[in-house]
């Protein structure tokens, strides 16, 4: 396994220049994700248009895998419904954990496939997704708790 499989150009680029970074105010939902052992920490704020995610932002700090995964995710889920996000996350999770999982149709998210050779880092890549799920599950922003994938 080569390091360049994990740290692909797309990952390094999204780590260096995260897309949709910052906060959305006002927002319809907010959730925090924190992996205390790693220190990876992020906050997602989003606005909905009915069932769909109209817009979302994330802020936080952590390793390149967690930050790039969050950035790639925000690009991939804009305009999608909660059911579509869940289906997409199932595919991303398979990509992160299962040998031979297909990346067909995943676009830039396919760059995360190298993570599966580094099992200790799966939790870094999945933190943003779990946090987004929590944000979608809680319509009341004040009720948002903290998610962890450790």
């Amino acid at each position: 396994m080569e390091l360049t499989e994990l740290y692909r150009e797309v990952i390094l680029d999204h780590n260096r220049h995260p897309r949709n970074s910052g906060r959305l105010d006002p927002h319809d939902a907010e959730a925090k994700g924190h992996n205390p052992l790693c220190g990876d920490r992020l906050t997602i704020t989003l606005r909905r248009d009915g069932e769909r995610i109209a817009d979302l932002r994330f802020e936080g700090n952590g390793c390149a895998i967690s930050m790039a995964s969050a950035s790639l995710m925000t690009e991939a889920v804009k305009g999608r419904s909660r059911a579509e996000v869940e289906a997409l996350f199932r595919r991303v999770h398979a990509l992160l954990t299962e040998q031979g999982a297909s990346d067909a149709g995943l676009g830039k998210l396919a760059a995360l496939s190298g993570v599966r050779e580094f099992p200790a880092r799966v939790k870094c890549a999945s933190l943003a997704w779990h946090t987004l799920n929590a944000a979608l599950a809680r319509s009341d922003p004040a009720g948002a708790g903290t998610v962890s994938t450790e």
Binding site: L3, C38, N61, G62, C63
Partner: protein
């Protein structure tokens, strides 16, 4: 010039020493394993592995119970290990040597037993800003239970205890000082002798968390004047799950037991019990017998090696590693105290410590990346985490170079 020869010429033959550590001979990710995570746990020499195997193969039975031969042999070996620890610390009596699961349990024992008996609302416990969670959370718990208050002695910019700041916290409400001998996150060796002197002048006992110190400097609890001294077996070449609490006899005598059960009692009725003598009063249940025997073998190993000689070798590695990493653009060293154990905490600009850790692992270099169980210290330093290389007696200058090359590789991947 060969590193091995360089050290051999000073009477320190690191190549031969490494032969005693079978685990070090393996490759990781196709590369020589440079095991630089010794601050988290050291590896075991053959001597320790053999002592444990011998016990498991020939001597095992429960201790302090049977009249049969094996029970007597196991008891002799276990109590022999206690005497070995007493000599290691130069304690006055084996009554002062308690076996625990490790430093964490040792400190919890003092917090729960001594703390519950002696702390009242308004009393103060002094810790330092660089404590490991193991010497912080037990005090938070007992403070919450008793109404006592935690005071935090500051550190200076190098990561050393700010001595005047510590002294300023000592007052008539202070009931205990609990302080690290060595910092696991920054490497600083604290002036515990001066801390103890100042605390004793104020009539305050001192607990020393020796987890990071015992493998690197000779500890004499009587010369130091420590009231309690805690350490773990696995940080000085012994097994995990065994540790020690040294306590001054007068203090231990006055303390109530912490855990109840077998071995810690003298007589039991349905209504009540009376306590066994020291040290067994604090050792409820069947102890970690093989762990204690392995620990005794580790202390033999360390004594035969010579802790000062090992420390001088490790100090050389620390100096070489510090110089090598400082030459890499973007590297910052955290912890620059004059008196330092072989711990090198660093960050690489633009690269998160976990990414540094993954890349180093890929290059065969095992380090720790994270908050080092010192979250408040990381907050104080404004860092989410650091990467930490920590050295032991068996590391080499070639491994220091392997570390530096791997850090350069990390910088290159993220360029």
């Amino acid at each position: 010039m060969s590193i091995v020869r360089l050290h051999a010429s000073h009477g320190y033959d690191v190549a031969r020493l490494r032969e005693q550590f079978p685990i070090l001979a393996q490759a990781v990710n196709g590369r020589h394993l440079a095991y630089l995570d010794n601050g988290a746990s050291t590896q075991r020499p053959r001597q320790v592995i053999d002592a444990v195997t011998h016990y498991e193969t020939h001597l095992h039975a429960n201790v302090h119970r049977g009249v049969h031969t094996l029970s007597q042999l196991a008891t002799d070996a276990f109590e022999g290990a206690r005497e070995r620890v007493r000599r290691f610390l130069n304690a006055g009596s084996t009554r002062e040597i308690l076996f625990t699961r490790g430093t964490t349990e040792s400190i919890n024992l003092v917090a729960q037993s001594w703390g519950r008996a002696n702390l009242r609302a308004g009393d103060e416990i002094i810790v330092s800003a660089l404590e490991h969670h193991a010497n912080l959370v037990p005090w938070q718990m007992i403070a919450a239970a008793t109404g006592a208050r935690l005071r935090v002695a500051p550190i200076d910019g190098t990561g050393q205890l700010h001595f005047a700041g510590f002294q300023a916290l000592l007052n008539e409400r202070t009931k205990l000082v609990a302080i690290a001998h060595g910092s696991n996150a920054l490497g600083s060796i604290l002036p515990v002798g001066r801390v103890i002197e100042a605390a004793h002048r104020a009539g305050v006992p001192v607990l020393v968390d020796g987890a990071q110190a015992v493998a690197h400097l000779a500890v004499d609890v009587r010369a130091l004047g420590a009231d309690f001294y805690a350490f773990s077996g696995h940080k000085l070449y012994g097994p995990t799950g065994i540790g020690v609490l040294y306590g001054r006899e007068a203090l231990l005598d006055a303390m109530p037991p912490w855990m109840g059960g077998g071995d810690m009692i003298r007589t039991v009725s349905y209504e009540s019990a009376t306590w066994n003598e020291l040290p067994w009063k604090f050792e409820a249940g069947t102890p970690n017998i093989s762990g204690a025997i392995g620990l005794a073998a580790a202390l033999d190993f360390l004594e035969e090696l010579g802790v000062e000689k090992a420390a001088a070798h490790e100090h050389g590695l620390l100096g070489a590693a510090t110089a090598a990493l400082m030459r890499i653009p973007g590297v910052r060293i955290h912890g620059t105290a004059e008196d330092k154990g072989p711990v090198l905490s660093f960050t690489l600009e633009g690269v998160h410590p976990h990414d540094v850790g993954t890349i180093l692992d890929h290059e065969g270099v095992a380090i720790r990346a994270g908050h080092h169980c010192a979250m408040p210290l990381m907050d104080l330093l404004g860092l989410p985490a650091t990467a930490r290389a920590s050295f032991a007696c068996y590391n080499t200058l070639a491994e220091v170079e392997q570390l530096a090359a791997a850090v350069r590789r990390a910088a290159e991947v993220f360029r």
